[in-house]
Symmetry: C2
Subunit: 462 residues, 2 copies
């Protein structure tokens, strides 16, 4: 492998350390080595070599995933890091596309587009280290997904190294391509179990020229749902942020994270960060905001609010939302859940989830925050004083069942990885799991592409 990739392209032993454990430090053994190919041909050569030797391959991007999909759990595995595939092609202004390598860091792409009049509208907490290939592998979501779509919606074309080492060139640059099965969609969210994404053609969006951002205080989650409906009706085409959090989470962030301030006069049960943006300088965003807030206040849905008066204040509002995970992490142990329900069921889920948690583990402190626009709730728990004990699996299963019964998902934007396979096996239609196993067996008959992820280690014909 060192012959193939050069000394900086093949790391072994202690040099693999920074690649071997996942972000939450729950999974990972020392791999056989870390391959760092610099081209698609090198990726194909690594895959071909591993296939011939019967060695499993785990693709890794920025290694920011939360479900353990990008590290090895069996010794004798090769981690294939895409980090050197970091080329960003020329921006095509008239078609609003750009072709990028799988190793491009999301924030680097954002920076590269500065001044082009176009943006890549995917934003999430890990954007400073998450890479395009990993974002495709997990079909990442984030705070702008309800407007611009998830990662799969932003990918027009893909280049993929298939499990047998063949390179599939699917680098189309158009939205409309129905010449066969939706292969590009299949590789998005497959977490590297069907092949390794090496390059992608991405859709860009026009850069907004002005924005209005407000932090609102709400009486309860029922008001949150109804305010969401009102905002969609009155300001749909401008909504770019609809992020909610609760007073418990706010308190954790204010207590543990330095430099945060609370801009409203009094605390409230629920907060909503609303951001409107427009590409046209002729749109009176502040008037639209004032109008919908007046309607919201008259209907009792909004108690109080502050409009950001500067870019600094806007950033401060966003930090209150973005530091929710960090505040809770610094509070101590926690359990994360990545739930989605139809937006209209958010209040129901939070009410019924609270009953479920208090029954399973009295004293559990619940910190639901997330994305109102698509119903994605990061339903994270801090333990009662006695700790979580062994309640975690029962909580996960109970909350997942609750989401599923509402037409939702227990794996909204973080994927299944290794950590949620048991939930999928337990809760999803066996026909669905069977379809996935059939596709996996058809595309990766040797079972060497990221084994144990998405489908577990069951035999493919089970």
């Amino acid at each position: 492998m060192a012959n193939l990739l050069g000394p900086s392209g093949w790391l072994t032993g202690a040099d693999t350390q920074s690649y071997s454990r996942d972000w939450l430090d729950r999974y990972g053994v020392t791999p056989l080595g870390v391959a760092r190919p610099a081209s698609t041909a090198e990726v194909a050569a690594v895959v071909t070599l591993c296939r011939a030797a019967g060695v499993p391959v785990v693709p890794q991007g920025g290694n920011t995933g939360l479900c353990g999909a990008a590290v090895a759990t069996q010794p004798g595995t090769v981690i294939l890091s895409l980090s050197r595939m970091a080329q960003i092609g020329a921006v095509n202004a008239d078609s609003a596309t750009v072709t990028v390598g799988a190793g491009v860091v999301l924030a680097e792409l954002h920076r590269k587009l500065d001044g082009s009049g176009l943006i890549f509208p995917l934003h999430l907490g890990a954007e400073g280290s998450a890479r395009i290939g990993g974002l495709i592998g997990t079909n990442a979501g984030g705070s702008h997904a309800f407007r611009h779509g998830m990662m799969a919606d932003l990918v027009l074309g893909l280049e993929v190294v298939l499990p047998d080492g063949t390179i599939w060139n699917g680098l189309r640059e158009v939205q409309k391509d129905n010449a066969g099965y939706a292969l590009r969609r299949l590789f998005c969210g497959a977490e590297g179990t069907l092949g390794i994404v090496t390059r992608a053609v991405l859709r860009l969006a026009p850069e907004p020229r002005h924005r209005a951002t407000a932090l609102l205080a709400l009486p309860d989650f029922g008001a949150l749902v109804r305010l969401g409906t009102l905002l969609r009706a009155e300001a749909a085409e401008f909504l770019t942020g609809l992020e909610f959090f609760c007073d418990f989470g706010l308190g954790l962030a204010l207590r543990h994270v330095a430099g945060l301030g609370f801009p409203l006069t009094s605390r409230a049960p629920v907060y909503l960060l609303v951001e409107l943006a427009s590409g046209s300088g002729l749109v009176p965003l502040d008037d639209i905001f004032a109008d919908v807030l007046t309607k919201g206040m008259e209907a009792g849905l909004v108690l109080d609010g502050a409009l950001a008066a500067s870019e600094a204040q806007r950033a401060a509002f966003w930090r209150l939302r973005e530091e929710q995970p960090e505040g809770q992490r610094l509070e101590g142990p926690q359990i994360k859940h990545d739930i989605a329900v139809p937006p209209g069921r958010i209040a129901d889920f939070i009410a019924q989830g609270a009953v479920l948690c208090q029954t399973a583990l009295p004293g559990t402190r619940i910190n639901p925050f997330g994305h109102l626009g698509d119903g994605n709730i990061h339903y994270n728990l801090s333990p009662p004083e006695a700790g979580f004990g062994n309640a975690a699996p029962a909580l996960a299963q109970g909350l997942a069942q609750l989401a599923q019964a509402m037409g939702g998902s227990f794996a909204a934007e973080h994927g299944l990885g290794r950590s949620k396979i048991a939930l999928a096996d337990a809760l999803r239609d066996p026909a669905e799991r069977g379809l996935m196993r059939a596709i996996k067996a058809a595309l990766d008959p040797a079972g060497l592409m990221n084994p144990g992820v998405v489908l577990g280690h069951e035999p493919a014909d089970n």
Copy 2:
């Protein structure tokens, strides 16, 4: 079968006539019979029965497809019409979703949503007879796709009867669901070759409260591309229609279709119908329009234009575009192509396509019209006086190669069906065709689901 479905559920002989030929009257033999199940369980029973008997099944919606995917070409085939599965569920206003049967006619869904404050934003010429299941099967596009997405983007969840008769319940109601492979995406656009869609959860969008529609005259296709870029930059979030056609096509429509009028003072090489819409009554759409048109005129991109002053005038503008296919049909023989190129390459494609056509068949009259927002060109040809002769396959292949070389597609929104399989086999990466055959063999090992569509009749292991 009559026992299973009742007398109105099983048609044979002459009663199958209205189901047996495709829309363009190119394909179709008399089937063994037409099954008209009224429930998912009945669909599953039909599929199970056919599987046991080794009888192929062709699902059929509104039979408006243009590539011959919804009729039988081998005797002894069952056509499974979804037309009785036409239930429309309650609209979920807070989540902006609705669950519908595969047999619902698109225009019927539009009507049902009237007054709800929500719309289903898919619009195409055949909406008066196309059904949801067929629109999913072909992943239909239409004139609003550049803003709201294609059919697959508007489907949140699916119920599918699999080739073995199993019912897969994937009726999720959330945008964010990453609990495994993107199965719902795979069934969208699979043209019934992997299973039969019986129900779907659809995403709705807020209803716009006001609109502005203009018909513009442009000097050439280069101006069209640059005007598209200007419109995206200045009015992106309001663009709901960006439909172009050319003077030859306008002439055909005016000559052959009754009741059309031309609203501008003089003819021009290219026309663009631009429609802006907003959900907010506070947006000055007319001012935004005037501003961008002034910029377009100053840059020499726009020669003339008329803003619709009434709903009747708006409808008249749209008819000029929508009657393009009818005008050309009434002119005589024609060859249709469903091309997509990156929007920035539209002018290049039209220039190079003209050279190609004049070389292959001098005197060919070219009528390119379509969707500027996503680069979808309905590149339709009328013959020279001597007719098309046997030039059709060479023209199709040449134009397809040209589109592909530009990063585009030769099957943008009509699918492959039966008529474009040879193109796909000739032009697409063999790795891609191999992946599709592997998926087909894995999910439909008996090969009884719409055989001969998408992949042709080759053996699955070829």
